[in-house]
C-alpha cells in the first residue's frame, strides 16, 4: 500500500508538473480575440487583429503606425492612392498660388461627421489649427509649415504657408490631415483619445482600452459606397505563432502575418496578400552617447551589418535590402545609393582599428530592441561580433509607449533596432528620420546642408521635372550624414479567411475600400 501511495504521489507530481509546464506555454499568447460576437451590427462583420492606436486622437497619437487604425474613423483632407500619390479625399481638388505659399482646397459638398455635424471649411480650419496650437499636440512640427488657415466659404479652405511648400497635399493625406469633429473638440477634447469622432469609413460604437474597438459603417463617409463592411471589430493581435490558427478557427478574419508563416497559412487554405509598403527597418544610432560618438565608429557599424542576412532570416526572403529610408520603386528611392554601406566586415574592422578599437580594446555596445525584435537583435549581435564589437542586448518590454520612452524620449539607446512605417510625404519621412527634431533621429543632429536640401524639395512642385532629382539629393545627404542607417524594407503580409476578399495593396497603410466580407 505504501509503495502504491508513493507511486501515486510521483505520478500526481509528474502530471502536475506537466500541467504547469503546459501552463507556461499558455503564457506565450494573449487571450486572442475571443471569437467575437457575430454580426449584430449588420450583415457583414470583419474581425481585424492588429494593434490599437496609441491614441484615437490624431493630434496626440505618437506613432506613424497609428494611421492604419485612425483612418478607420477619420477621413483626411487628401488621400494617397495605392502608389503613394496624393489624390482627392475630403477635398476634391486643390490649387497652389503662383509662388507656392498658399494652397486652396475645395471640399466635397454636403460632407458630415459621424455625429451629424457639418464638415465644412470652418471645421477643417478648426481641426488643422488645433493640431498646430494645442499644448500636447504631436503634430506641431509637421504643421509648422502652415502659417494660417482661412475658410472664405463653406467648401473653400485656404492654407497659407510659412514658405513655399508643395508637399502639403501629401502631408495632409495621413493623420496630420485627419479632420476631427469641431463639436467633439468643443464638448470633450480630452475624451478624443478614447472616443473619436471623425468622418471616416466607420464610426465608433465601443472601445475597451488595450483590448478592442467596435465600429460600424459610417453612412456619412464621402466614399461610403466603396465600403461593404457593416461592422468592424478591431482587436489586439494574438501571439504571431497562433495567428493562422486564429484565422482558421474564425476567431479573427484578417491579421498581419510574419513572412515565415506564409506557407502555413497557404497550406491551411487561407488567403495571403503580400503587398509593398513604405516600412523600412533602421538602426537608430545616438551619436551623443559614449562609444558611438566617433564618426569613424559609426561608419564602421554601417558596414558591419549584413542586411541580406536580415532579409533572409527575418522576412524569409520577402523583404528587400535598402540603404535609405524608402523602399525600391518609390519616388524618393535613389538607385545611386544601392550598395552604399554594403556589408564589408573587412572595411568595418579597418575603420574600428582606425578609431582605436582593435582586439585589445574592442568596442562595447548595447543593442536595444523591442521584445518582438529579439531574433533580429541576436542576428545583429553575431554580425557585430564578427568585426570585433562586443555587444549586450537590451530588450524593451512590450507596452504602448515603452519604446518611445526608452528610445525617442529617453534617448538612452546607443544602437536601437527601429523602423519607420513611412509617412505620406517623403519630406515628412526624411524629417522624422533625419531632421534635427526627428523622432527617430535620436542624435538630434542635422547639418544645414541637409536642412537646405529639404527646403529645396519643399519648394519644388511635385510635377516639376526636377522634383525627383532634388528629392534624391536630400535623401543622399541624409543617408551619408546621419549616424542612423537603414537596413531593409518589409512587405505587408496579410492573412485572411476565405470569406474576406483580397485587400487592396496601398503602399502607405491598410485600407478597406472595395473589401467584401461574406456574411
Amino acid at each position: 500500500m505504501k509503495r502504491l501511495a508513493r507511486s501515486r504521489t510521483l505520478a500526481v507530481g509528474a502530471v502536475l508538473t506537466l500541467v504547469s509546464t503546459i501552463g507556461l506555454a499558455g503564457c506565450s499568447s494573449d487571450s486572442g480575440s475571443g471569437g467575437g460576437s457575430g454580426g449584430e451590427g449588420g450583415t457583414s462583420t470583419l474581425r481585424w487583429a492588429f494593434s490599437l492606436p496609441t491614441s484615437w486622437d490624431p493630434v496626440t497619437s505618437s506613432t506613424g503606425n497609428d494611421i492604419n487604425t485612425l483612418s478607420l474613423v477619420y477621413a483626411s483632407l487628401t488621400q494617397l492612392d495605392e502608389q503613394g500619390t496624393a489624390g482627392p479625399g475630403l477635398a476634391e481638388s486643390w490649387e497652389y498660388n503662383a509662388d507656392g505659399t498658399e494652397v486652396t482646397f475645395t471640399l466635397r459638398p454636403n460632407l458630415k461627421f459621424s455625429d451629424g455635424t457639418a464638415l465644412d471649411a470652418e471645421a477643417v480650419r478648426t481641426s488643422l489649427l488645433r493640431g498646430k496650437t494645442q499644448d500636447n499636440s504631436l503634430l506641431k512640427d509637421q504643421l509648422s509649415t502652415i502659417k494660417d488657415v482661412q475658410a472664405p466659404d463653406a467648401t473653400t479652405v485656404v492654407v497659407q504657408l510659412q514658405a513655399p511648400d508643395y508637399q502639403v497635399p501629401l502631408l495632409l493625406a495621413g493623420k496630420t490631415g485627419a479632420i476631427v469633429s469641431p463639436k467633439a473638440i468643443e464638448e470633450n477634447v480630452s475624451g478624443l483619445p478614447t472616443a473619436p469622432v471623425g468622418a471616416g469609413p466607420f464610426k465608433f460604437e465601443s472601445f475597451i482600452p488595450e483590448s478592442q474597438a467596435i465600429m460600424v459603417a459610417n453612412p456619412e463617409y464621402w466614399d461610403a459606397a466603396d465600403i461593404s463592411i457593416d461592422r468592424l471589430e478591431l482587436t489586439v493581435a494574438p501571439d504571431p505563432a497562433t495567428i493562422v490558427t486564429a484565422v482558421q478557427s474564425g476567431a479573427i478574419d484578417v491579421a498581419t502575418l510574419q513572412p515565415r508563416l506564409i506557407d502555413q497559412a497557404k497550406s491551411a487554405g487561407l488567403g495571403v496578400d503580400i503587398s509593398p509598403t513604405l516600412t523600412v527597418n533602421q538602426v537608430d544610432v545616438n551619436s551623443t552617447l559614449p562609444g558611438v560618438d566617433d564618426p569613424t565608429v559609426v561608419e564602421a557599424l554601417k558596414y558591419a551589418v549584413d542586411r541580406q542576412q536580415l532579409v533572409d532570416v527575418i522576412t524569409a526572403g520577402q523583404g528587400k535590402v535598402t540603404y535609405q529610408p524608402f523602399p525600391p520603386d518609390y519616388i524618393a528611392y535613389d538607385p545611386e545609393l544601392d550598395d552604399r554601406f554594403a556589408y564589408d566586415p573587412e572595411k568595418a574592422r579597418a575603420l574600428l582599428a582606425e578609431a582605436g578599437h582593435g582586439p585589445d580594446d574592442p568596442l562595447d555596445l548595447t543593442i536595444t530592441a523591442a521584445a518582438y525584435n529579439q531574433q533580429q537583435a541576436e542576428l545583429v549581435q553575431a554580425q557585430l561580433q564578427v568585426v570585433g564589437v562586443n555587444s549586450t542586448i537590451k530588450i524593451v518590454p512590450p507596452g504602448s509607449s515603452t519604446w518611445q520612452q526608452e528610445v525617442y524620449l529617453g534617448r538612452n539607446a546607443q544602437f536601437a533596432l527601429d523602423g519607420t512605417v513611412g509617412r505620406e510625404s517623403p519630406v515628412q519621412n526624411l524629417t522624422v528620420v533625419y531632421g534635427a527634431q526627428g523622432l527617430m533621429n535620436t542624435s538630434k543632429v542635422a547639418t544645414p546642408e541637409f536642412l537646405a536640401a529639404l527646403d529645396k524639395v519643399r519648394q519644388t512642385p511635385l510635377d516639376d521635372p526636377n522634383y525627383q532629382t532634388v528629392l534624391h539629393e536630400a535623401v543622399a545627404l541624409g543617408v551619408e550624414q546621419n549616424p542612423s542607417f537603414s537596413t531593409f524594407n518589409t512587405p505587408r503580409v496579410t492573412v485572411r479567411s476565405e470569406k474576406v476578399s483580397e485587400l487592396p495593396p496601398f503602399i502607405s497603410q491598410y485600407r478597406w475600400e472595395g473589401v467584401t466580407v461574406q456574411p
Binding site: T9, L24, S28, L261, Q309, V313, E378, L379, K394
Partner: protein, 309 residues
Amino acid sequence: MIRAVWQLRLGRICIVVLTLIALLGILGPMLAPYGPNDQDVAVMLQGPSAAHWLGTDDLGRDVLSRLLAGSTLSLVAALEAVGIGLVLGVLPGLLSMVFGRIFEWVSLRVMDALITLPFMVFAVAMTALLGNGLHQAMFAVGLLVAPAFYRITRAAAMTVIGSSFVEAARLTGLSELAVIRRHVWPKVAPAIAVTTASMLGTGLVVVSSLTFLGIGIVPPEPTWGGMMATDLNFLYQKPWGPLVPAALIIITVAALSGLADALRDATGQSGRSLISARRAKQARAKAARNAGGPVAPAGRPDDRSTVDA
C-alpha cells in the same frame, strides 16, 4: 540521511536522475558539441541529424548545446533562489524560538506579509526595480520561499524546544545556541531537507516561467524556459521543438518531488518502518536460502514491532 533515502526505490531513482541532471549542469558546457550561441542560418530550424542531435533553432544554433548550457543557468538559478530562501527562512525560524517575543512577533509578521506576495508579480517588480537579471529575479523568488522554510523550521523546532531532554540540557548550563546546535537542529534538519527538495522543484518551475517570459535573462543566454518560449514561435516549422526543454523541466521537477517524498519517508516514522520491514524481509529471505526452505511472509510495513526506537 542519504543512505536511508537510497534504501527506497523511489529515492534511488530520483538520486540517479538528479545526479545525471547535475552532471549535465556541471559538465554541460564541456560536453556541448558547439558553442551555445554559435549561429549558422544556413541550417536553421532543422530536425535531428548526425551533426545536430536535437536539431537547430531559429538562428541555426545547436539545440543540444543550448540545452546543456541552459541546464547550468536554470539549475544554478533554482539553487540560488532556494539558497536565499534557506538562509532567510531557517535562521529566523530557529532564532524566533530563542530571541524572545518581540523578535518572534516581528519575524512572524514579516513572513506573513511575504506569503501574501505572488511569485511572478513580485519577481517581475524586483527585476524592474533592480534591473533585468537572473540574480535579481532569484533574490525575489528566494525572498518568497523563505516563509515556507521559516514555518517548517519553527514548527519542527517547537516540538523539540519544550521537551524534557532540552530542558535538561539547559539545566546543565548549555547556552541557547548550543542547545539549538546539539539538540534542536538534528530534529529540524530532516524537515528542512524535505522542504529544500520540494522547493527546488518549485524554484525550477518559477525560474522556467520567468525566463519563458523573458524576465531575468539577457539574450542570447540559453535557459530551459527561454528556449521553450523561442521554440513556441516556430511550432509550424518544428512542432516538437518545445517538447525537449519541457521534458527536461518535467523530469527534473518530478525527480525533485520524488526525492522530497523519499526524504520524508526515510526520515519519518513510517519510512523507517518501511526500511526496517524491508531489511527484515531480506534477512528472512537470506535465512531461507541458507536453510533451503520457503521464504516467510513479510510483516506489514507499519508493523510496530519493526519500528526503530
